[in-house]
């Protein structure tokens, strides 16, 4: 079944059409499934974090129920973010060199530092400040290994006075503010990696980092919708429809902006029709038909825009049950669509020959370190980690401090 899918999506014979440089004419692409996966994962991280910062920085009160879930989602995916890169390197045992002798003219070199900064100084720190009070309480009341885990996470600080909690809230707010540009940097630099490659016209343009960040926002919000609905369904609880509706609203507007900028990219390319454009056109229509026209454009953009747009206009006429189905469908479609977008960027750029005269037809293996199978495992790993994190930190059996994650003296923004 997987082979048939492979054959539909990627032609196996002949290996190229037109003229391609001999070094480009191999059977497998240099950057494969794993490199498609990496920007997808960091995009989800950045998007989920922005969802959380909507609550903390922009005081969007209806989104409160998903605050902690979005942060934990971001953490689960961030923990897995380095794995596709490690598996892809020719020499993963030398990967530490990126931190020891980072070549600062290379966007890839900042990866180690941006990742470390975002993981430790933003995500873990914000989570810690938000959870600290709860950790102290839970460490005292939970027996066994879980109690030890909570105690470890308190870092030995047991002060739960009002003054300390107020400081926690303030620090969390500051970190959230710092976290927004950090999230943009974490994912934007990946877009810049592609956008800075002037050798390849499919990649090397100014809009690339912007498009990456915008589609990351969209995918992150969609993931939060997806996770929230699944978690509530698993727990057999009632969905907070107001929260879901507000998420749907943000998803719609983010998608509108993302679709606009992506459309701008296409329109500009087609209009200025620089050298090699007819090859790009051929590639987009033939080699990338299923992933671009169907996956990214139709399923990932047009259908969610129509569904979510309809809900924005006519929400009160749609029943709750119907809305839930529409939101879930849109979230799933968008997640597929953004994955297709990453595929089109990474693989499309490699199909397109730098000779500007041909296209390659690469084959993706199923097995092996860079194959589909490994990719699917790496894609499911964050969800497994998220389940563990939810059990530890979002358990319904544990009492929470109940403080809302924003400064109490500021009035909340009603939507």
């Amino acid at each position: 079944m997987a082979l048939e899918i492979t054959n539909i999506v990627v032609e196996t014979l002949p290996r190229f059409e037109g003229y391609v440089y001999p070094n480009e004419s191999g059977t497998h692409p240099l950057w494969g499934f794993l490199i498609v996966l990496y920007p997808y994962i960091t995009g989800l991280v950045a998007g989920a974090f922005i969802m959380a910062s909507l609550v903390r920085v922009f005081h969007v009160k209806p989104l409160q129920p998903i605050y902690r879930l979005s942060l934990l989602t971001a953490l689960a995916f961030l923990l897995c973010a380095t794995l596709p890169l490690l598996f892809h390197l020719g020499h993963p045992e030398r990967s530490f060199q990126i931190m020891i002798t980072p070549h600062l003219t290379s966007p890839m070199a900042i990866f180690g530092f941006v990742y470390a900064w975002y993981l430790m100084a933003v995500l873990l720190l914000e989570l810690w400040f938000d959870y600290r009070e709860d950790f102290v309480v839970w460490s005292q009341t939970t027996p066994g290994i879980r109690g030890i885990i909570y105690r470890a996470f308190t870092l030995g600080v047991t002060d739960t006075s009002e003054k300390a909690v107020a400081l926690d809230l303030k620090m969390g707010w500051i970190i959230s503010i710092v976290g927004i540009p950090s999230a943009f940097l974490l994912h934007g630099y990946v877009g810049f990696i592609f956008g800075s490659i002037k050798a390849n016209p499919w990649w090397g343009n100014v809009l690339m980092p912007i498009i990456f960040i915008l589609s990351a926002m969209v995918s992150g919000i969609a993931l939060c919708v997806f996770n929230y609905m699944i978690l509530t369904w698993v727990r057999r609880r009632k969905l907070d429809m107001r929260c879901l509706d507000v998420m749907g609203m943000f998803l719609f507007y983010a998608l509108v902006i993302d679709a606009t900028v992506e459309a701008l990219d296409w329109i500009h390319r087609a209009y200025s029709a620089e050298e090699g454009f007819h090859v790009m056109e051929y590639m987009a229509q033939e080699k990338l038909f299923y992933t671009l026209s169907i996956g990214q454009a139709l399923v990932g953009t047009v259908i969610p825009l129509l569904l979510l747009g309809a809900l924005q206009l006519a929400r009160k006429y749609v029943s709750e049950a119907m809305r839930k189905r529409m939101y879930f469908a849109c979230a799933a479609f968008i997640l597929i669509g953004v994955f297709a977008m990453r595929w089109n960027v990474v693989m499309g750029g490699q199909f397109f020959s730098k000779s500007l005269r041909g296209v390659m037809s690469y084959k993706l293996e199923f097995a092996g370190a860079e194959g589909w199978f490994m990719g699917l495992i790496l894609l499911s790993l964050p969800f497994i980690i998220l389940t563990v994190l939810i059990k530890l930190f979002l358990s319904e059996r544990l009492p929470t401090s109940g403080h809302i994650p924003h400064r109490a003296e500021i009035t909340t923004t009603e939507i």
């Binding site: 440089y21 001999p22 390197l89």
Partner: protein, 270 residues
């Protein structure tokens, strides 16, 4: 009071340790700077990379597409045998005649490079009577002054040597492939055995010993011109080439400043 003093002194000690660590790397650099001439036993002793600047150029009108250069390179540098690993290669451009009465200057342009040109070009896909003009173009690393490949290497594994050659350190390369994607000329590949990036080294091990690169050695028609810009010999071929020909570089609009120059180049070549 006692607590803050001990905390202060602890922070001061830490700060001092960090400062010492950071400055010791500078001291190490200064010491290494003394040794800029090869001293290891198997490298040619006394070769000073700062005293040379190597360059290769091409005369497209002289290339006969025999492919001896491609074969010699693979032999000399133990390049993997497959048809997708080339440190240098030959491209053939066949420009067909325009359709009569169409008002065009040229017809379709057919470009190919069967096995990189290694076995020569024994078959011609277009009948002779349809061909307007046709020629061969040898390709390799363009020795860019602002090489995008070295710019994007995340660890400093590929670099511009002081004598004008762009090299890869196979012991340090992590195999990320960024340099391969960034090279506009397609001259890099990932060696499937070493899993590191590889490319033309201008036969560094030969030129540092006063030999010519293998491809230049076997070229029968002097289509490849090689020399040392800092030490021109009598009747230096590079100096003659530069002064007598109108010159062309590949993809100049990308700002890579490729130093490899072509004479008698056609506008179809990328």
């Amino acid at each position: 009071m006692k607590n803050s003093v001990s905390r202060r002194s602890m922070l001061a000690t830490l700060g001092g340790a960090v400062a010492a660590l950071m400055s010791s790397s500078a001291a190490r650099t200064a010491k290494a700077a003394v040794q800029k001439v090869f001293v290891s036993t198997s490298a040619p002793k006394g070769y000073d990379p700062y005293k040379h600047k190597w360059l290769m150029c091409f005369d497209v009108d002289k290339c006969i597409g025999c492919g001896l250069c491609v074969d010699a390179c693979k032999t000399e540098n133990h390049v993997p045998q497959g048809p997708t690993y080339f440190r240098n290669w030959i491209e053939r451009y066949i420009i067909k005649k325009p359709k009569p009465g169409s008002g065009e200057t040229r017809g379709e342009v057919v470009v190919d490079s069967p096995n990189g040109g290694r076995d020569g070009f024994t078959t011609t896909p277009i009948p002779r009577e349809e061909i307007l003009k046709s020629f061969f173009v040898p390709k390799l690393c363009n020795l860019c002054e602002h090489s995008p490949c070295t710019q994007v290497c995340p660890v400093g594994a590929t670099f511009d040597s002081p004598d004008g050659v762009v090299l890869v350190d196979p012991k340090y390369c992590i195999g990320c492939g960024f340099c391969i994607q960034a090279c506009p000329y397609g001259c890099r590949f990932l060696n499937p055995e070493t899993k590191t990036a590889e490319k033309c080294t201008l036969c560094y091990h030969r030129i540092t010993r006063g030999l010519k690169p293998a491809c230049v050695e076997v070229c029968p028609t002097e289509a490849r011109i090689f020399g040392d810009l800092k030490n021109p010999v009598e009747n230096d071929p590079i100096q003659a080439f530069i002064s007598k020909n109108k010159l062309h570089t590949l993809k100049p609009h990308l700002g890579t400043n490729p130093r490899v120059m072509y004479a008698n180049m056609d506008k179809e070549v990328r």
